[in-house]
Amino acid sequence: MAEDAILGYLAAAEEIPDSGQFASQHGLHHSDVVNVIKSLHGFRYIDAQDIKRESWVLTDEGKKYAAEGSPEVQLFLAVPQEGSISKDELQKKLQPSVFKIGCSQAGKNKWVDMGKQVSRKVQHVEDKVKELLIRVQNGEEISKDDVNSLKARKLIVAQTWKGYSVRKGPNYAPKRKKVATDLTRENLQRGDWKELEFKEYNFNAKGPPSESGHLHPLLKVKQQFKNIFVQMGFEEMPTNNFVESSFWNFDALFQPQQHPARDSHDTFFLEAPSTTRELPEEYVELVKRVHESGGYGSRGYMYDWKREEANKNLLRTHTTAVSTRMLYALAKQPFAPKRYFSIDRVFRNESVDRTHLAEFHQIEGLVCDRGLNLGDLIGVLEDFFSRLGMSKLRFKPAYNPYTEPSMEIFSYHEGLKKWVEIGNSGMFRPEMLLPMGFPEDVRVIAWGLSLERPTMILYGIDNIRDLFGHKVDLSLIKRNPICRIGLN
């Protein structure tokens, strides 16, 4: 109908100048014509230009008067040709609104005498208002004064009329082809794919969302770190033991019992199981002695070492507790060099904020060999961090109870234009290694960092809780790209 009319008309004519006129000429609803124009335009059968026109339409009141006559005429006709009618009587004959408006308008027009008794002043009146309203309804022009008076009486309002002028488009055809959105098995079977015309595909928008699975960003980064360690010849330590005794977590590392890290403010101690069942007694004796009075060339801390403190269980505060157990086991064997690493959960009794959590992941690497020196430590750190894309490093002297020398690792951050601390490192103290039974020339160099910090830098996350824990935003997990650490 409308589509055939438009395409058919354009077969012979250059242009449909006005869709409104076209609709009334062809006995079509303008809204139908508009819909067809939009659709044909979308497939570029036609080109359509907007047309806008201001026009007047009747209000509900206006429509009523166009049908029933204006109130003043209704009132006039209710007044008898001869004689008079009482105002009360007249009011009963008319609707209240008609009576009210009719009285004022008929009075203004001097058609009737308004008093207690109402009588006609003229014998004949024309309903000009009704006539004007009908003309507006038919879309005919009326004079400006008439528009203003109808507008003042709120019988008409302005309305913007929208239509189109239409010409042939680049894909013009007298009849629209059948459009397809996809190629189907049936199309192939019927062989009608040759006649198919595809609905234009919008390549400026992304495709539908994917239904894929996603790995957690922190664990993606962890995997890459693991790969780096393996490439550097490091063996993974078993870290699946969160509960540890103070002995392995602190004492064996030559961390004195009054050290602030051993405060309940920093460490989670356990109610159950509150203490460890056993410790290697011979080794405990050596550790006690080195704390109390030194030995192996050391003065020791010179305090009373208490077994009860060492027995206290805790959630490990660092994976170095595992490293200590591994080194202790290693020292029992005939010496062979080792490179160990681990990446796993550690626990701190800290208040949670944007950068701190009560649990996080520690990355740790250590090398155990004869004759290692600080040059080896710096060398291995440069190798490790250059694989993360951090090749501009510098090292700051620092203090750590179980390493000496200790070095904080700083990297120059190109984005922040400053040096940022990225990890800690050092050589384990002889007071830690010698009681284990290592030969004197065996040294252990080690370093550690958190997994969260580089991940936050990598993915531009500034609140750790967005990354790790139950407050995480799932769409962040879905959105994040592959971890390119180690690809440099």
Binding site: Y296, G375, Y399, E404
Partner: protein, 590 residues
């Protein structure tokens, strides 16, 4: 790590020169301390009161907050910090601290009663004679006690310090432990007399002191120090008496440290006296006090003797990895406040550890100081053996798992195929300038090296007609193209291909896979012709259906194509169902 706040201008005056902030930061960095914050008194107060920060004016003193290592108690105040930095920069020699040589008879005495062993068994004392305070040094003296209490004293549990105006007191002194009801005195900052048990009640509402009450609260006896007139010096570790309070005018300071750990008490006392002996009439000299135990044994404090440590040169050079001569090592150590000399044989270094350096426990601590003075960042690197993976293969593996997670199954197809499969069956003509041609193929299956992953993927679908639909497969693999720039005239290219086959083409699904791949590669979707990410543009290639195919443009370069496979191509591979196919070169993501 403890933080020490010092006035910048006073610090620079003590260092004998001023620094730009950057210069000072570098100095700190190489010495192993850290300029943590630069602020003003006003800013600290407004921060404490959570007020809007006011702009500092020129008159406001700039305060440096400096982080120091937790085992360096000698750096906990301006005096110690400045001295250490002056010596580190070679501006000053290591001071020698001495105990005044006075006879035992003229020494002040502290008698320790037996009951103290029930609660706080140790006390050590010393006198700073002829000291001159100004406001700044007086404040520093108070601050240092605070810092020590916080750190090594473990909030006064291990050690508590009391300092007194000696001229208000008369020795000998006694250190006792008495029932609280028997102790009466006017405590510091109060005017009224308190009984010790009432005082404990009184301090329960004192924000600063209430946290120390637990240390003695439940004991039947409280530690207390008296002079000969029964004047209370202090009720350690809670409060001193008002009577002996020190002031700016105090000339002679009596210091007592009561403790549960004697080693730490000695360190604390030594730190107090060595730091402030610099303001004494006889610089660096401290007057000793005899502490006489209830069992009759006696000790004289402070013990300012130096500890001698013999350290083999080879241990130092071997651990650091720098060949240094004895002289170089001793010179470096002197900058770290460790007096050192060749111990004769030439291979050992004899180190005198001063009373300020309680952190030196083992030759490894000496070795560290050599390394710090030498400069960590000047040490030559030694690289351990390690391997580097091939980035292209690592990237391939990462992409492979991402695509599998999108529900696609990996296939592994042959590199070799027939000419027909590589060209005609894909609606393509062999232009003789793309593919490597085999000279002696045993069968037509091995005529060319593939230039696209498409034939292998389509053959796979063609041979899996009975497999339930949809089929979603992918492959990451190499194709070979003729390449004039290569010595052999051909080069490999790592491509990724994915294919969907079902009742309909799955074109949108392949489109969304493109978006996902670009997302995991960190490439944003942009609009034409932005070169910072990727966009999609309609294409016109014969193996795809027109109107349903597009190229992927990444950073301005065409890296791949996707579309509905042309029905003629499907027919060539005997595939009855519509397919969509994606192929892109992943080398652009490296």
């Amino acid at each position: 790590m403890p933080t020490v706040s010092v006035g910048r201008d006073r610090l620079f005056a003590a260092l004998g020169r001023s620094y730009t902030q950057e210069e000072f930061e570098d100095l700190c960095f190489s010495f192993g301390i850290e300029l943590d914050d630069v602020t003003t008194e006003k800013a600290i107060i407004s921060k404490e009161k959570h007020l809007e920060e006011e702009k500092p004016t020129a008159e406001d003193e700039i305060i440096y907050k400096i982080e120091v290592p937790a085992n360096r108690y000698d750096l906990l105040c301006l005096e110690g910090l400045a001295q250490a930095l002056r010596i580190f920069s070679g501006q000053e020699k290591i001071p020698r601290y001495t105990v005044a040589k006075i006879s035992k008879e003229s020494m002040h005495k502290m008698h320790v009663k037996k009951e103290t062993s029930l609660i706080r068994p140790f006390v050590v004392c010393a006198v700073l004679r002829g000291i001159t305070f100004d406001e700044a040094s007086y404040n520093s003296f108070i601050d240092l006690q605070d810092k020590l209490h916080q750190n090594i004293c473990r909030k006064r549990t291990l050690v508590a310090i009391g300092t007194h105006d000696l001229d208000t007191l008369q020795g000998p002194f006694t250190y006792e432990a008495l029932p609280p009801q028997e102790i009466n005195f006017v405590p510091l900052k109060q005017v009224k007399n308190f009984r010790a048990d009432e005082l404990m009640e009184f301090y329960k509402s004192d924000l600063k002191l209430k946290k120390f009450l637990h240390i003695i609260e439940n004991s039947s006896v409280f530690p207390v120090i008296y002079d000969r007139n029964r004047t209370v010096l202090s009720l350690p570790p809670i409060i001193n008496g008002a009577h002996s309070a020190i002031t700016l005018k105090t000339k002679n300071v009596f210091i007592e440290c009561t403790a549960t750990d004697l080693t730490k008490a000695k360190i604390v006392l030594n730190t107090m006296v060595t730091t402030f002996a610099t303001y004494c009439e006889r610089k660096f000299e401290v007057e000793p006090v005899e502490v006489i135990s209830f069992d009759g044994s006696s000790s004289v404090y402070p013990d300012l003797s130096e500890y001698n440590m013999e350290v083999p040169l080879s241990y130092i050079t071997g651990s650091i990895g720098v060949p240094l001569e004895v002289d170089e090592v001793t010179n470096l150590l002197k900058r770290m406040q460790l007096d050192a000399e060749n111990s004769g044989s030439g291979q050992n270094i004899s180190v005198s550890v001063p009373p300020t350096r309680s952190d030196i426990l083992h030759p490894c601590d000496v070795m560290e100081d050599v390394a710090i003075a030498y400069g960590y960042n000047n040490i030559p690197r030694r690289k351990l053996s390690s391997l580097k993976p091939l980035p292209l293969n690592q990237l391939s593996d990462l992409i492979r798992s991402e695509i599998a997670m999108n529900g696609f199954t990996e296939v592994l197809t042959w590199i070799l195929c027939s000419k027909k499969e590589n060209f005609e069956m894909l609606n393509r003509k062999d232009d003789k300038s793309t593919a490597v041609i085999i000279g002696n193929p045993r069968s037509s299956d091995f005529e060319v090296v593939r230039t696209s992953l498409m034939p292998g993927m389509l053959k796979t679908v063609g041979h899996n007609k009975d497999h339930p639909k949809p089929i979603k497969i992918y492959e990451v693999g190499d194709v070979v193209l003729l390449d004039e720039k290569k010595d052999v005239g051909a080069s490999n290219h790592r491509l990724l291909a994915a294919l969907y086959c079902g009742a309909n083409s799955g074109f949108e699904l392949i489109h969304c896979l493109v978006d996902r791949i670009m997302e995991v590669m960190g490439a944003p979707f942009v609009s034409v012709p932005d070169n910072s990410g990727y966009y999609i543009e309609p294409s016109d290639e014969p193996e795809f259906l027109l109107g349903r195919q597009a190229k992927i443009i990444y950073k301005g370069r065409r890296i791949g194509i996707f579309g509905i496979v042309h029905p003629e191509v499907l027919n060539n591979f005997d595939i009855p169902d519509p397919c969509s196919f994606l192929e892109l070169n992943i080398e652009y993501f490296l």
